[in-house]
């Protein structure tokens, strides 16, 4: 395995986040440290309400950590930036804008000239296979199409880091598989640093270089599993999803990760 020299892209140092709700404050994220290298695809899994999204939002600059610091390229993150694109769980498309205008949104603020914007939009509309829907409004699209637009909108903006919060959670199984394969393919052609949240262990192993397992609230890191260790499934990103998930190596990893999550759920009685 060729170990190229990689630099730290994102890093969280002893990050804790407190939340206020109904006059009670609780700890959502408890002393989490994590470093993600450039070009790495890291997936976080964990029980519901474990603070995964909150932790990701500190990287996005949408939540300020109460304690600890988050960095990108060694510089402290103090607010949102176009360099850290976010794909939200609920799509967050602008409903009064067409598919084209949604994808164009970020490009305008980057000062990219019109012709170049049009070219970029064409490219990404093609990538998400929505040719002919450029002038459609979000309410005219299916859930899977909307999510693809949300991904294209962030991709087209060429952020250095992609933060994806359960982007496929709302999709049916078939669409989800297609989207996972698309993302895998896009990750190969448009190499970026990705932090991805999911409930699905299968998805985590299929997409991630490393899988971070978080504990139930307050969210801590329970364990980090390196999917690329010993080059277990070397070409999984070029393989079809249903091929990968039936490999013996895949099933072993799945058993290992599930065991950890299950232990967490049983231990904290959160069923």
């Amino acid at each position: 395995m060729n170990e190229e020299q990689r630099s730290d892209k994102l890093s969280a140092q002893n990050v804790s986040v407190m939340f206020e709700k109904d006059d009670k404050s609780f700890l959502a994220v408890d002393d989490v440290s994590l470093t993600i290298q450039e070009g790495e695809f890291v997936v976080i899994v964990g029980p519901s309400g474990c603070g995964k999204t909150t932790f990701m939002n500190t990287f996005a600059g949408l939540v300020r950590p109460g304690k600890g610091k988050v960095f990108m390229d060694g510089e402290e993150i103090t607010g949102p930036s176009a360099e850290r694109g976010v794909v939200f769980q609920q799509f967050a498309l602008f409903p009064w804008k067409t598919v084209k205008e949604n994808i164009e949104f970020g490009l305008k603020y980057r000062g990219i000239p019109k012709e170049q914007r049009d070219e970029t939009i064409r490219k990404y509309v093609q990538l998400i296979k929505l040719e002919g829907f450029e002038k459609s409004y979000p309410h005219e699209l299916s859930g899977g199409m909307k999510q693809r637009v949300a991904i294209a909108r962030v991709y087209a903006n060429r952020p250095q880091v992609l933060l994806m919060d359960e982007p496929f959670g709302a999709l049916d199984a078939q669409t989800r598989t297609i989207m996972q394969e698309d993302l895998s393919e896009m990750f190969l052609t448009e190499k970026r640093t990705v932090l991805f949240i999911t409930h699905s262990v299968d998805e985590a192993i299929y997409l991630g270089d490393r899988v971070v397992i978080m504990t139930a609230r307050p969210g801590k890191i329970k364990k980090i599993i390196d999917i690329t260790r010993d080059n277990l499934i070397p070409d999984r990103r070029r393989m079809r999803y249903d091929e990968v998930v039936s490999l013996k190596e895949f099933l072993d990893l799945k058993g290992e990760i599930w065991g950890l999550i299950k232990a967490e759920i049983l231990e904290k009685h959160i069923l």
Partner: protein, 266 residues
């Protein structure tokens, strides 16, 4: 099958129209019954429908006071348009700024909360004192009526824009100013238009109230004059025309609404 449903739809639609027309005709017939046919109501209390229609027809060419019928309609129309225009021109920008800048909200809200519950009609004496009995005082009363509902809806619309959309815009690189104009304002348009609709309805009430009190022209004046001169047909003429004016205004706003919120789910 499709054709069956289509023709059924057509049939229901036709039945609806027939029902609507019969209800209007029925109403007129009932009116005719109690006035002309049985004479329950003397003409000096409730004139018959044909007398009202004749009055409308007559007043098109014969002046009432200073103006003929269309003159009175025109005067009322100018008052309502100027009043609505001024109110929207002030309420929408102020509502947007109050919804966006919390300091301005804290600054302006106490005054607005005290002024808002005062019925616009209560301003009539001051309006006459300040602006005389000309166009100014009527426009002022109408503008007060339109201003508050529009302001409140705009304020709420801007303040409660889905925070997720704002977050999405921020992480795509939009700055605060861009977010206000490109995200917050478009997202609040449905509520703003709803506020305008309520405001204009209230504005029509204010128009009549202002014209009843101090005017020698306009549809409110006709209504008032009918009472003073014991000519109820004149009052009813004014009322019918105000009703039609209000209906047209509402339909126009509805049309605008459909155009600006094309992106909302059906």
């Amino acid at each position: 099958m499709a054709r069956y449903w289509e023709s059924l739809g057509e049939k229901i639609y036709q039945e609806k129209i027939i029902l609507s027309i019969s209800s209007v005709l029925g109403f007129l017939f009932l009116w005719y019954l109690i006035t002309d046919l049985f004479g329950f109501m003397p003409a000096v209390v409730l004139p018959s429908p044909e007398k009202v229609f004749f009055t409308i027809y007559e007043k098109i060419s014969v002046p009432v006071g200073e103006e003929k019928l269309f003159g009175h309609i025109g005067v009322s129309l100018v008052r309502i348009l100027v009043g609505v225009g001024i109110a929207l021109g002030l309420a929408i920008p102020l509502g947007i700024l109050m919804g966006w800048y919390e300091d301005l909200d804290s600054l302006a809200s106490p005054i607005i909360e005290v002024l808002r519950p005062i019925p616009p009609i209560a301003w009539i004496p001051l309006a006459i004192l300040w602006f005389g009995i000309g166009l100014g005082s009527k426009v002022f009363i109408i503008a007060i009526g339109v201003f508050f509902p529009t302001l409140i809806n705009t304020h709420i619309g801007v303040k409660f824009v889905d925070p997720l959309l704002i977050k999405a815009a921020q992480t795509l690189g939009a700055k605060d100013k861009n977010i206000l104009w490109e995200v917050v304002v478009p997202a609040s348009i449905p509520l703003i238009v709803a506020g305008v609709r309520i405001g204009v309805g209230l504005g029509m009430m204010c128009l009549v109230a202002a014209e009843l009190v101090a005017a020698s022209t306009g549809l409110g004046y006709l209504i008032m004059l009918g009472g003073d001169d014991l000519k109820p047909e004149l009052s009813i003429t004014g009322m019918i025309l105000i009703g039609i004016l209000g209906l047209i205004a509402d339909r126009i706003i509805l049309g605008v609404e459909r155009r600006v919120i094309y992106w909302k789910k059906e």
